[in-house]
Symmetry: C2
Subunit: 283 residues, 2 copies
């Protein structure tokens, strides 16, 4: 899916919602466990319930890998079921030396037929390039995440580049940037706004202003709304750009809106409510 | 496998070699492609050829994920075939919010029955804790990697904690530490030498002295010897501690030592040569 197609979907649906499929067999409605293939059945039901209200689906690969080989098949079948009108994101947080990242790119783009995959930046350029080199696919690099651990390393302040020539004066050196800011600035040079997005957690909405000064035009994948406490209003206020530039993900708040036999209706209502709120912010 | 068991294996075999199974169907001997299940057949042959000369096997998950669901089964069958006398490492470079990392830990420790999994540190403590909480398992966190991209972020210099009170003087502030040094120092507080190791690339052997000043006692998983150009002699000189503290990985240099029908013998000879060199360094 191209950037233009994504923007058109957002405008048509008045929604920039991404539904996160973090499907956990311990959390899906109990009555499904008596049916064949309960996890795939659940995914398909959620997709049918929400496809009019969202523009993207995000499969959290961990939940399917925890099921072994069958989990991998379910990911394939789920992406296949979604079809081509939604951006299909494999939330995989991969990243390794170039030779290995190339294999991950094959796994997600060729085998799973994802449109996009999330990638961790720690290992640098050659760990990310193999994903960016796939024509017509998206690489979504971790910037500032939504979890408490984002304070441990992502927010570390870097040395100023030029602290060495400090001379006796009252002028303080300008403070260095934070690690995640450097990641955004550096990685944005490796791709374009047509093949690169960043993960920016919704729980950090107050930082979106300064983030937009570094990457004004990129799409941001924003997790953390809902169960993790992020505010859709704040994210939209500070993060939106002229082509929207946001995909706001909700996982648990949609897919587990009910754990009873009404889970389909409940998921549809939750997704519809997000879309309605988003329509307001889109103006 | 406990630390004591690992140290005993090293002492008994006079080897701290880890054989890396980066099995690529495009690189295995062509004649195997006519046999059923060539990748699993290759893995088993390599394991039989090398098990006397190494103490660990590392499965590079990317190469198997690139095969889809069958790749996941092959990983399971390969770990099963290795048995319990070698440390079984899933080289997966995972890491996500706590809720998700818990699922990855289930995938690798419960489903694949790995003894150890590699984890990326970018997202911080709650992305790593779920792995460390598994009793009797190892978490191997990326420190300084062997690839060119390690210069992009891992080696960034951090701000000194106390640059603020700089006053006019000729005294330079002491330089801040590098990101990977901070990662080692911080993450080492989250686990113990009995459940935590670090990835330190062999191509960065000159840094091993200062790394050992931060984490003197931890085991290091050292990739990059062989195809990536790292020196076993340097790694051993600067990285070894009193309980060895090293697992040196060789992948391509062992498993692709020959692409002909003599690949088993060639792999055995390559692993044997590494082990013989290691026996010398163990003294």
């Amino acid at each position: 899916m191209t950037r233009q197609q994504l923007v058109e979907q957002i405008q048509r649906k008045k929604s920039y919602l991404c539904v996160g499929l973090d499907t956990d067999i311990l959390k899906i409605p109990k009555y499904l466990l008596n049916k064949p293939d309960p996890v795939l059945t659940f995914n398909k039901a959620i997709i049918d319930a929400t496809r009019d209200f969202c523009v993207a689906y995000k499969i959290n690969t961990a939940f399917f890998e925890a099921m072994g080989a069958r989990g991998w098949e379910i990911m394939e079948e789920t992406f296949d079921y979604i079809g081509n009108d939604h951006l299909k994101i494999a939330d995989a947080k991969r990243g390794d030396i170039g030779n290995t990242s190339h294999q991950y790119a094959k796994a997600f783009f060729d085998m799973l037929k994802a449109d996009a995959v999330t990638v961790a930046p720690y290992m640098g350029e050659d760990s990310i390039r193999p994903f960016l080199e796939y024509d017509g696919k998206w690489t979504i690099v971790l910037g500032l995440t939504s979890n408490p651990g984002s304070n441990d390393f992502e927010r570390l302040r870097l040395d100023t580049d030029d602290v060495a020539p400090l001379v006796p004066s009252l002028i303080q050196p300008s403070r260095g940037e934070l690690l995640y800011e450097r990641v955004l600035r550096t990685v944005s040079c490796w791709g374009t706004i047509h093949n690169l997005m960043f993960v920016i957690g919704a729980t950090q909405a107050s930082d979106l202003g300064s983030i937009r000064s570094i990457i004004p035009d990129h799409f941001l994948l924003v997790p953390g709304v809902g169960a993790q406490g992020g505010s859709l209003a704040e994210v939209s206020e500070y993060g939106m750009n002229k082509e929207t530039g946001l995909l706001v993900n909700a996982s648990r708040a949609v897919i587990y809106a009910s754990d009873g036999e009404d889970f389909v209706e409940a998921a549809a209502n939750a997704a519809k409510a997000y879309a309605a709120e988003m329509a307001g912010y889109l103006g």
